[in-house]
Symmetry: C2
Subunit: 467 residues, 2 copies
Amino acid sequence: MTKNDKINFSTPSGFPEFLPSEKRLELHLLDIIRKVFESYGFTPIETPAVERLEVLQAKGNQGDNIIYSIEPILPPNRQAEKDKSGETGSEARALKFDQTVPFAAYIARHLNELTFPFARYQMDMVFRGERAKDGRFRQFRQCDIDVVARGKLSLLYDAQMPAIITEIFEKINIGDFVIRINNRKILTGFFQSVGIAENQIKTCISIIDNLEKIGEAKVKQELEKEGISSEQTEKIIDFVKIDGSIDDVLNKLKYLTENLPETGQFNLGVTELETVINGVRNLGVADKRFCIDLSIARGLNYYTGTVYETTLLGHEALGSICSGGRYEELVGIFIGEKMPGVGISIGLTRLISRLLKAGILNTLSATPAQVVVVNIQEDLMPIYLQISQQLRQGGINVVTNFEKRPLGKQFQAADKQGIRFCVIIGAEEAAALKSSLKDLQSGEQIEVNWADLGEEIKRRILNPETI
Amino acid sequence: MTKNDKINFSTPSGFPEFLPSEKRLELHLLDIIRKVFESYGFTPIETPAVERLEVLQAKGNQGDNIIYSIEPILPPNRQAEKDKSGETGSEARALKFDQTVPFAAYIARHLNELTFPFARYQMDMVFRGERAKDGRFRQFRQCDIDVVARGKLSLLYDAQMPAIITEIFEKINIGDFVIRINNRKILTGFFQSVGIAENQIKTCISIIDNLEKIGEAKVKQELEKEGISSEQTEKIIDFVKIDGSIDDVLNKLKYLTENLPETGQFNLGVTELETVINGVRNLGVADKRFCIDLSIARGLNYYTGTVYETTLLGHEALGSICSGGRYEELVGIFIGEKMPGVGISIGLTRLISRLLKAGILNTLSATPAQVVVVNIQEDLMPIYLQISQQLRQGGINVVTNFEKRPLGKQFQAADKQGIRFCVIIGAEEAAALKSSLKDLQSGEQIEVNWADLGEEIKRRILNPETI
């Protein structure tokens, strides 16, 4: 074979791929996340990677995102089909850049087939034409849940979100984290109460949302640029910096409900927040796992109530590892109906890449195999195959070595791949229906009857004390 | 909210999406397939959806496929970035149309990080610009395994494939199926022995491969068109129609090895086939699950030895539900190295769609929830939340009803979604730390202590006799 030196076979910039040890970690995390999502009754959907361009651009939802359109390239022998393939300009299609717009389209497409409140999870790949920088990918997997209703949606759905976030990150064993909860109505109401004009409130909230990132001095400057007086700015900064225990902050907010000029929004926001906090506690989430942070707002203006961010303690520079909130006018856009919803999102590809770099997570072994049946005598292969199948039927992942090599090399190769056990059967052992089981983790080698091999291996995998 | 009537929110033609009950079936099948793949030590990888166009078109691998290229569309506020985004013609990128070419690129990209023989599985989406007809999708999921080596690859890897196919389809519970095995060297060798010219052999094999589809008369015509004599044609047809038990066919082939003019290829093919068949048997695959079918060749010319097709008995019109074979010059194309490999592929999206239509598979319930904690008294919500969490910690998927509705409606809604159990707690029950458990499948309603609820539900799920 000749090598075609001219072909650049590297991945296109920004399109990541994982080594097996990394992909296995991703699948492990996806399994955990899916299990938690499903335990709360969220059901899976997957929308196509490709949507009509007009869907993706509906109501200006493209936002700042660079979308990739798709265009068919015919092979040389099928050029004549060009006109028949039905790919005209009006049929322009593109890759989805998030899961929200396609979710809205999914709801419109299947409105009468779905049961509301509809709680769904989605763990699809999305595509954005970002300039590829560290941690910015052009293709990445997002793990999203949303529950949406026709009519009213209980605030207890908002309360479930921190419980779900807590369970996921405790199971991933990621270290200490805190979920910061706020309610945009509180911010809106407070801004109204200090006399900020209605048309400036969203901008001011966006500026405040950056407090942690750009610092107090910069926030003050930006508010000043918007024409906010220094007195108003002081009040705002003092307000969003309110801290203390969850109950401290709640009490301060309740005090303000009786002492601020009435705005409607503020008091409603505080009541909503209290309901959510009570729900989070009733769901058994420990107080150390969440706090009220009046400075967070989620830049996205479609959030209208509860908002969440999740900070990994000691790794604040990673930014929020799971965010979301409540919205009203987002998923009903294609059917012209207000559909209240609440959702969260984990940007999994980015999270894995950053947690690996930060040493917070480790990759798994390069193979799911737990056992190698080594090959020391070719004519015993039928026995090697039989023993391999017996172990597989017991739920163990097994590689049979088909190539005969020195035993030491076979051990080494297994160890290098992170395979823990080797099963060794020579002529004598075969005659006695026995095998030697080598535990590469402990170095130990014991004799085990064929019939007991599966149980012995499973016992060792499950019980670290036997190592 | 106003509805934008002008937006066509349907999926683009050929890009399918599943309802929750269908997506849950897909995930269930993916779980089964992944578990079997991993039990043989196949490790997961996922290559990006997007590759450089030159990679996808390397060595003419586009074949007959219509590829989708991607092109960035900048949002209105970022038009100025056009020139900076690095998306020039020489960087042309497109969506992968299969997993073979990207696998070859993956190997080239990570040659020194992988351990050979490298056994990987991949269950990614691929994209082809087919005209959307019944069962032909433009985006679909393929479940592929391949094991490739640098140097030699044991024929026992070929033997594992039918064992893997058997396990998967037995676990999916798809009905009776048979894996048809052949070896292209046998066909090539036989064609040589009857005097077909070397440059005609591949074409003749392709014609024979269509025997089942187009029938004997049409095959004869097409062979005649190629200038094959009627005597040669008779011999060929007689040969590929050899049937009988596995041992019958093997014995007939072995007889021919001693009676045909020596071609090298034929005898080698028979020896390979016998080794593979022995391996399949040693792996415990029942004889009823496979046969030797000398007429199959897999159209794709890159196969060089063993080939497989899988037929669902009674549903032959579905075509092969899992196919594959051995190749030599496929995955080493980017590094200019012969890398023998053997692999199989399940076109999962198409398979599910056809099996559902044929009534062979049923969808799952629309939600993973197994239990609804109903809401009959708002002030007991803290207890409903607590009981829900307790059940979740026991591994049960639970929905808590946050909206209070008549009890009958809550039962109905649960039943409609396929949720089997309702947990009912009123004031009296709450005081006694008890609940009523309603099994909607049996209609039975029993009283259970809170502490025993999880075990009772799990017992009923696992043991159908309690229904």
